[in-house]
Structure formats: structure tokens, C-alpha cells
């Protein structure tokens, strides 16, 4: 038995010695081991991207720095992406340099940062009276400017409720951190808005386009789209909301999808997806998938070709003209970095031809 054990370990390490092969063949269960290992080769771990994860990590480090420099003040920590709207300029300047240094070379010294001497508290931005007597004029102007900016800030912040927006262009992807630490990765040509003021009343965002959400556990997290509503508690899911279609894929936990009229609700679990097309809900089960577009690929499973080429238009910022593809469906993927390659990946299996002239692609 002991002999077998080291034999198996050697085999798995690809480190067989003389006579081992013969012994392996005679080993009970050997064909099954081979089968098992082959099956395992066709399996992989859930997606992970060093780069995406490092982006998040950097934000966490920036928050860490901010917190230690604020030395315990309770002010809401803003992520670098969304820091602009409600910080008065006096501190904004400091915050900007702070973030800039955080983004490039976080800190050379340990995270204690005595740059900001006065405790910055966005809620009560009082124009500081400076004791720079020889510079009275300068001080006066500075105070006036500060007042003006504070005033503007006050109006914008308390007027209509600032709604931070993240918008992506064709071929662009962007990751956004929400105040609760949830993250949203926007696919090309999408927009995300939410109200900072209302955030404390509930986690609510609006989406046009496609995004992958990682919602932190907590109160209900709502994604509103024109095509329907998605409600979750804490989970990871992909929302595609374009034209007349809403498609939600759940990769972790559970997701509730509601049609625009609010008359129908469907609860889906990880590995399931639901589509709302023209207000009608359709559930698809037992799918093994992870949205892969943030890894540089667009994947499809029995999707209409129009939708596939629509995505290609958004990923490459081109116009695609295609007739006679109606009613045809495509399963597979294309890369988001090389148009020629992407076209081949779709057109070859579908037996289509294409030509590219400037930013226009013809499919025939």
C-alpha cells in the first residue's frame, strides 16, 4: 500500500521512475484516476484578475491612508473615483494630491500622514480666518473664493442631490466603488448613476447598458433600469439592460428581478439567469457561466446574432451592417482587443463573410 502511495504522488508530479509505469498499469483503479485527472483538466477556478483585484486593493489602501490621516474622524470615506462632488475645494486640493500620490506610489512612509493638520470635516466647511497679516489682500481674496466655492458646493449638494455618474465610451470599461464598498464594473457604452443624498435611505443605483455588480452584504441593493428592476441583498451578478431587453445573470447568492410594471417577480440563484424581453420574463436554469467581458472576452450562449454584433459595435466603436442574419443564433465568444480576430471568431463558425472599411464592417 505504501508503495502505491508514493507511486501515485510520483505519477501526479510527472516524476516516474523505472518500473513505475508497469506498476501503474497493474494498479487497481488506475483507469479511473486517469479519467478523473482528465476531467479535472477541463475545469477551472472562478475568474480572478490580478489587475482588477489590484485596482480594488489600491482603493482599499487609499482609504486606509485617508482614515489614518483623518485620525479617527467619522467622515464618510470616498473612493478616488467618486471623490469630487461633495468635498469643498480647500480640502479637495489636498484630497486630490492625496489620491494622486496614492495612485502612483502609495506611500513611501508608513500610513501615518500628517499632511492635513486641521481635521477636515466636509459637513461644516467654515472659511478659515487666516492670520497672515502682511498678506491681507491675498487672504481676503482667498476667503472670498473659499466662500464662493463653499456656497456653490452647498447649493449643489443640498439642492438637487448630487448624482455621481460613471459613463463608458465604446471599447471602454470602468470600475466604480460605491459608498458601501460594493463594486460595479461597467462594460462599454454604459452609464451608472446614483444619489449620494439618498444613499443612506437605501442602496439604489440606475443603470443603462451592462455592468457586473459585487454588492456587499447589507440592506436591499436595487438596480433600476428602464427594462426592469433588480433587487439583491449581497451577491454578485451581471445586468445587461439595452434596447428592449433586460438580462440578469447571477453568479453568487440570490437575485430578485422585477418587470417594469412591477407585476412579475422572479428569484434566481447562482448559475441561473432571467431575461425580460418586452416585459415578458423567461428563466434559464442550470447554466455554468461567469460573465467574462471584464477579462477581455464577450461570451454568448444561443444569443441572436444581432445582439452579438451589437456588442461588437460597442466593444470596438464600429458600425456593423448585416443583413440576412435574422433569426440566427450564436454560441461562443469573441475577443475585445482585436477586431479582425473577433470577426473571425463569430463569422467563421457562422459561415459568414465580412469586409472592413474604416469604421464600418459589412457582414454578408
Amino acid at each position: 500500500m505504501n508503495q502505491d502511495e508514493t507511486l501515485l504522488a510520483r505519477w501526479l508530479a510527472g516524476d516516474l521512475q523505472e518500473g513505475d509505469l508497469e506498476a501503474l498499469r497493474n494498479l487497481e483503479g488506475y483507469p479511473e484516476y486517469v479519467e478523473m485527472l482528465e476531467a479535472l483538466e477541463g475545469m477551472s477556478l472562478p475568474d480572478f484578475s490580478n489587475t482588477l483585484s489590484w485596482q480594488q486593493m489600491k482603493e482599499k489602501l487609499a482609504v486606509e491612508r485617508e482614515q489614518s490621516s483623518l485620525d479617527g474622524t467619522q467622515s464618510a470615506v470616498q473612493s478616488p473615483h467618486l471623490s469630487a462632488p461633495d468635498i469643498p475645494l480647500v480640502e479637495k486640493a489636498a484630497a486630490v494630491t492625496d489620491i494622486a500620490s496614492a495612485e502612483s506610489r502609495l506611500s513611501v512612509e508608513p500610513p501615518i500622514e500628517p499632511v492635513i493638520a486641521e481635521p477636515p470635516k466636509p459637513q461644516y466647511p467654515s472659511p478659515t480666518i487666516r492670520r497672515l497679516v502682511p498678506w491681507k489682500m491675498v487672504a481676503g481674496i482667498a476667503a472670498a473664493v473659499t466662500l464662493l466655492i463653499v456656497g456653490l458646493w452647498w447649493v449643489s449638494d443640498n439642492g438637487f442631490g448630487a448624482t455621481p455618474v460613471a459613463v463608458t465610451k465604446a471599447g471602454e470599461q470602468k470600475e466604480v466603488k460605491l459608498p458601501d464598498g460594493s463594486s460595479v464594473t461597467l462594460n462599454a457604452m454604459s452609464a451608472l448613476t446614483y444619489s449620494v443624498d439618498d444613499w443612506s435611505n437605501g442602496r439604489k443605483v440606475n443603470l443603462e447598458g451592462e455592468a457586473y455588480f459585487k454588492a456587499k452584504k447589507g440592506k436591499v441593493f436595487t438596480v433600476t433600469t428602464e427594462q426592469g428592476t433588480v433587487e439583491v441583498v449581497g451577491t454578485a451578478f451581471n445586468v445587461f439592460a439595452r434596447d428592449k431587453e433586460l438580462e440578469v445573470k447571477c453568479t453568487e447568492g440570490k437575485v430578485q428581478v422585477i418587470n417594469p410594471e412591477g407585476t412579475e417577480r422572479v428569484l434566481i440563484k447562482a448559475g441561473e439567469q432571467v431575461s425580460v424581453l418586452n416585459g415578458r420574463m423567461q428563466r434559464r436554469q442550470g447554466l455554468e457561466f461567469q460573465p467574462r467581458w471584464f477579462n477581455g472576452e464577450s461570451t454568448f450562449r444561443s444569443e441572436p446574432l444581432e445582439k452579438v454584433f451589437g456588442e461588437m459595435e460597442r466593444q470596438y466603436g464600429v458600425v456593423i451592417m448585416a443583413d440576412s442574419i435574422e433569426g440566427r443564433t450564436f454560441s461562443g465568444k469573441f475577443v475585445n482587443s482585436d477586431l479582425e480576430k473577433a470577426l473571425k471568431m463569430v463569422c467563421v463558425p457562422m459561415k459568414l463573410k465580412y469586409s472592413v472599411v474604416a469604421d464600418t464592417v459589412k457582414i454578408f
Binding site: 508514493t6 479511473e32 478523473m36 476531467a39 480572478f48 483585484s53 489590484w54 482599499k60 447562482a270
Partner: protein, 172 residues
């Protein structure tokens, strides 16, 4: 002879280098232990954050050990004894292979589903070692290093895992 200048974990480029070298393995390690995909990434980042806070006390060559140890502790705090559920992705064959009949593909799928469950049922120490080798493609020496084990112990766990997997599979 002057000693070589020590790489300082508190320097962001050094920290980033450590992140790119170890983040994936730490995250996978947590996943093998039984955290789900998003939990394992969160806990991994938390482990790095702890290292950042303590960077002055962590020598560069101890960083990996520190990360794995902290990740292990964070997992214990977070998860206690919940049932392990693994969800592997099924890789699509790159080229559609003509010789693979639908029947064959179906059988492979079915075996993969059972295997996923069987691996989840392995004892934790065997599961981690087995998956580090099969998924992270680490050598036994590497695994021994990461987990502070002897190579002999790793070999033993590898073989045991395989034998045990076959047994569990029979019952699924």
C-alpha cells in the same frame, strides 16, 4: 561584505510586486478552504491590507508566509464550519472537436459534476494540497514551502487525495 539591501514591504512597488505574485494563490487557497469566489477575494485583500498595516514588521521574505497565515486565520473567523461548496468553471474546448461525440461530452460533464462534489468532501488538508497542485500547478516543493510542510507530507496528501477521491466518487 555588506548585506544586500532589504526590499521594504512598505514601499508600494514592492507591495504591488507581492500582490501580483501571491494574490491569486492566496485567493485560491481561501477558495479551497471553502470560501466562495467573492469571499475568497475579499479575505485575500483583507490579508494584504493587514500586511500593509504591519508592513514595517514584515520582512520581504516572510511576506508570503504572513499572507497565508493571516488568510487562514481570517477564514476561520469568517466561516467557522460551513459546508464546503466548490464551483469550478467548465472550460469550453477551444476548437470544436469533431471526434468528440455529444455522448462523450455528456459523460465528461457528468463526471465533472460528480468530481466537483467529491473534491468538496475531501479532508481540508488533502483538498488544499491536491488543488494547489492540480489548479495552481505548483510543484510539491512549492506547496511544501507555502504551507510550511515537508515535501514528504505533501506527497502523502496528494496520493491520499487521489485514492480517497476515487472512493468518494463511487458513492456519488
Amino acid at each position: 561584505m555588506e548585506p544586500l539591501p532589504q526590499k521594504d514591504v512598505c514601499q508600494e512597488p514592492v507591495f504591488q510586486e507581492l500582490f501580483f505574485a501571491h494574490a491569486r494563490h492566496v485567493r485560491n487557497f481561501l477558495y479551497y478552504k471553502g470560501a466562495n469566489a467573492s469571499e475568497s477575494e475579499d479575505l485575500m485583500q483583507e490579508a494584504f491590507l493587514r500586511m500593509w498595516r504591519d508592513c514595517a514588521k514584515v520582512p520581504f521574505e516572510k511576506a508570503r508566509g504572513f499572507l497565508f497565515a493571516v488568510a487562514g486565520n481570517l477564514f476561520l473567523d469568517a466561516k467557522k464550519h460551513e459546508q464546503v461548496v466548490l464551483r469550478f468553471q467548465r472550460l469550453q474546448p477551444v476548437e470544436t472537436q469533431e471526434d468528440e461525440t455529444p455522448q462523450f461530452q455528456l459523460e465528461t460533464r457528468e463526471l465533472q459534476d460528480r468530481l466537483e462534489k467529491a473534491i468538496a468532501q475531501l479532508p481540508e488538508n488533502q483538498r488544499i494540497v491536491f488543488l494547489m497542485n492540480r489548479m495552481d500547478k505548483m510543484t510539491y516543493a512549492d506547496i511544501a514551502d507555502h504551507l510550511d510542510l515537508s515535501v514528504k507530507a505533501v506527497e502523502k496528501r496528494m496520493s491520499k487525495a487521489l485514492v480517497e477521491l476515487r472512493q468518494i466518487l463511487k458513492g456519488i
